[in-house]
Amino acid sequence: MHGTSTLLNWILWTPFIGVVGVILLPYLFSKDKQDNVVRWWSLLNTIGSMILAVVLYMKFDTSVPGMQEQFAVNIAWIKQFNIFYSLGVDGISLPMIMLAALLFFLCILSSWTITKSVKGYFALFLMLQGTVYGVFLALDFFLFYVYWEVMLLPMFFLIGIWGGENREYAAVKFFLYTFFGSILMLVGIIALYYASGKGVDSFNILALSGGKFIDNQVHMFGTVWSFSKVFFWAMFIGFAIKVPVFPFHTWLPHAHVQAPTAVSVILAGVLLKMGTYGFLRIAYPIFPQASVQFADWIAVLGLINVIYGALCAMAQTDVKKLVAYSSVSHMGFVMLGLAAMTVHGMNGAVLQMFNHGTSTAMMFLLIGILYERSHHRWIVRPDGTKGFGGLYTQLPKYSIVFIIAMFASMGLPGLSGFISEALIFLGIYQKYTTITVLALFGLLIGAAYLLWMFKRMFFGEVIEECKSYTDMNAREIFYMAPLCVAVIVFGIYPTPVLDIMKSSVGQLVSLLAQFQ
């Protein structure tokens, strides 16, 4: 079944075709039309991308665990190093591809109001999409690393040019942090290449998997260390910075607050998931024994993320920062699910990656919509006065969507966040009972800060400034609607997503179980 093998190529390269189009197409049109040409072209491109993702979903065989043979692409790139251009998709990457396709489409719509160098913005945005696909599709470790790093370039410029007041600092911090993590990963990649004997499979993520490096050793500082432990931590830090896991999270609030709306959405919705995807695809399968050994650490760090993120969110007066910290907290649940290493926990983790993608995207988009009207994001201004008040009466449609987003993010039963968090708790309870109980408090704090924020912004007296705000327009409703549907549908009936992932996740869990 190799007939459809170009599909992944198309998915990966469509955004890059889009970039070329954004650069060249405007020259065919007069000056005043150029911006709109760029916007519509980008929109068409992301629609095309979505269609391809749906085609992939239709052709995906949910019964097959692991990589789907019929989509595999494998071409030699650098023969001397046995580096391949190899792509593949399985039940863990498919939900991420679908999520990315959806969010990028919506973000193009939400970026319609960008007026500063439109061409550059959309070109970088599509480039970002391409690199995100690259990370989720790559099966060659070198290729993975290249996409992982190239992704930083568009992000750096998107934050730095179109961001808020303090954008330069945020962009540089983001870049340096991630680059630091990647370097550790790079040393690990090369070490694995030599440890596996420089053969044809030495950069192949699948071939490296399965715990092959248990007996290898590393000599450093005059002592002998276990190869897999040392490089598990190298990879761990690389991915943990992306997630971000406490204490590597400090870049995130800056990057989020300064980034333009659509970039925040992508950052929280897709890029953070690349970190946890890295655990699932690389750190766990390649170093299963070290992963099992350090599961306690992962769980504790996940718990710190949950509690600390939630407490930080509670203290924020900037609503975007609040949501940014809530992401830290929610990614903590994913880490907990990963630490569980049980079927329920892992399924919950992957589902939470997907669900957090949709719910946090809603939050950021909504904050962006509000920001376009108010030009500030203070719940309470630095001088102590209220930033917003009585929005509920002023903006009824907006408020309803906000409530859906908020409850989804809080994990209210019936909405998507609940299912994934419940699965995670189910998976982790037996292994880490205390941590589960403490993490439940994280949920409680989560409810507290969200409701408190809602109360301060939407209830109470309408402050003078808010009276001039207009409710959501058709375009805004149009791009919020799919997310609302996703949040509600997957809250009631998550089976489609779970079906995709379960056999792949099951395979990973059984691999880990061998080392328990």
């Binding site: 790139w77 650098i78 023969k79 001397q80 190093f81 690393y145 290249v146 790093e149 190239v150 930083l152 370039l153 750096f156 410029f157 730095g160 040019i161 954008r167 330069e168 962009a171 540089v172 870049f175 340096l176 680059f179 630091f180 370097i183 550790l184 790079l186 040393v187 090369i190 070490a191 290449y193 030599y194 590393v218 000599h219 450093m220 500082f221 040392v230």
Partner: protein, 488 residues
């Protein structure tokens, strides 16, 4: 293997062409008046001569390695590859000098001649097969470099640079000779080809003399390479020298010294044992120190030229990592690194030079909003900066990947980690310039005269390999791999 001198000269054509070019340029310079026309003739003469030398050198890369002149010079693909890099670097620096206002018009001819002379010394150094030729190469390289550094006669800093360079150079050459004489005393030969067998049966006393002597020997090379702790002269010399000279110093003498260092290391330390262990230990520390000193030093700089100078120390440290491993993987990585470093450095210095000429200084702020004025140039500069920092998919990343993999293969994980962390540090100051170019408002909208169509086209043409070699590096790595060192 003995051959007649005439037959040997047949293998020495690139050097001969460079020599003839240099002499020819001297004649040209004396004959023609120093007006625009005469200079044009001179530049074209230099370019043609060097280009022919490059073609011959590149064409003979696949030839069998051969020691000539009673074994004192070796023509092998490794040195041939380095010579190609050096010739291209010299051509780049000469072009830069023709465009730069940093070199007075009446001295431009001298720059070309002296640069060709330095190149000559560098070529000699790269293929030196005994200690005297090596010393000869270093001195040819150095003496002309001292003059180049003090090229801006009226500028105090330039004179200071020349003097400092000469003083340091003199001292380190003396130390080097001292070390060489001890090595000769212990081993009884200066021929690299004869050293290998002698090393196998040494007494403990002899060993204890050899190690310090090697260190002294290394001082001379290390000084040319500007590696810590012999780097003290670099900031002042690089700062004081005119910009094209700095660009030249950052490429040609470095690559030559690196080539010599690699050969020396291969000759003396290929056999495992105490000697190799101590040397590797020392070189690891030196590589780590050099990188760190260069990159940390670059952070605080205001002038882009000075930043690039410091960062070139960092890159030298990176390349020394390829020497530490003492194998062909390392040599291959060095060659790859050198060829990408050449293009990146040239682009960075070219753009900086035009900005410097326009505003009289090259402080970072002069690049503010560059992308809104010269988008192509800003993109080229940004690509080069990312590439220097080692961000994929640019060639600088592949170069670092090669170096790191050579180091990791030998399981020097700490060194690899230090190298990697240095990339992160370097990213900080490279980002600074990208940040200013892209995120800041433009200070002025005046045209920069240097950046005409022709120069922009040249910059773009030099940037293309920086990008392409990052994606399609299969060919170059094969070429670098085939460029083996001959120890005979």
């Amino acid at each position: 293997m003995q051959m007649s001198y005439l037959a040997a000269l047949g293998h020495y054509i690139p050097e001969l062409i460079v020599c003839i070019t240099m002499v020819g340029l001297l004649v040209l310079e004396a004959t023609y008046s120093k007006d625009e026309h005469g200079r044009g003739l001179l530049y074209s003469g230099a370019m043609i001569g060097l280009f022919i030398a490059f073609c011959v050198s590149a064409g003979s890369l696949t030839d069998l390695p051969l020691p000539i002149f009673t074994n004192s010079v070796v023509i092998d693909p490794f040195s041939g590859f380095l010579k190609c890099i050096m010739i291209l670097g010299t051509m780049g620096a000469i072009y830069l000098s023709s465009q730069s206002k940093d070199i007075y018009n009446n001295l431009k001819a001298e720059f070309v001649i002296m640069a060709t002379g330095v190149l000559m010394g560098g070529m000699l150094l790269a293929s030196a097969n005994n200690m005297l030729i090596l010393y000869l190469g270093i001195e040819t390289l150095s003496i002309l470099s001292y003059a180049l550094a003090s090229f801006r006669k009226t500028d105090e800093r330039s004179s200071e640079a020349g003097l400092k360079y000469a003083l340091y150079g003199g001292v380190s050459a003396g130390i080097m000779l001292f070390g060489m004489s001890h090595i000769f005393g212990v081993l009884g030969t200066i021929q690299f080809s004869e050293i290998g067998p002698v090393l196998n049966n040494l007494t403990a006393t002899q060993l204890s003399i050899l190690i310090p002597s090697f260190l002294m020997f290394f001082a001379g090379l290390g000084y040319k390479l500007a590696c810590a702790p012999f780097h003290m002269w670099t900031p002042d010399v690089y700062e004081g020298s005119p910009l094209p000279v700095t660009a030249f110093f950052a490429i040609v003498p470095k690559m030559a010294a690196l080539g010599a260092l690699t050969r020396v290391t291969f000759v003396f330390f290929q056999e495992p044992g105490l000697l190799q262990e101590s040397w590797v230990g020392i070189m690891q520390v030196i590589a780590a120190l050099t990188m760190t000193v260069g990159n940390v030093g670059a952070i605080g700089q205001r002038s882009v030229k000075r930043m690039l100078a410091y960062s070139s120390i960092g890159h030298a440290g990176m390349m020394i990592m390829g020497v530490v491993v003492i194998n062909e993987v390392g040599a291959r990585a060095i060659l790859f690194y050198g060829s990408t470093y050449l293009f990146m450095t040239l682009v960075a210095f070219l753009i900086t030079s035009f900005v410097n000429d326009k505003y009289g200084n090259d402080h970072f702020e002069r690049f503010n909003g560059f992308i809104y004025r010269y988008p192509m140039m800003a993109i080229a500069m940004a690509l080069v900066m990312f590439s220097l920092a080692g961000v994929p998919p640019l060639s600088g990343f592949v170069a670092k990947f090669n170096i790191l993999s050579a180091v990791v293969e030998k399981k020097y994980y700490m060194l690899a980690l230090i190298g990697g962390l240095n990339s992160v540090v370097s990213l900080y100051y490279y980002l600074k310039i990208v940040r200013l170019m892209v995120f800041k408002e433009s200070e002025s909208s005046e045209k920069i005269e240097g950046l005409g169509f022709m120069n922009q086209a040249i910059v773009v043409a030099l940037t293309v390999p920086v990008v392409l070699l990052g994606i399609f590096w299969s060919k170059l790595i094969v070429l670098a791999e085939s460029a083996k060192i001959l120890i005979q």
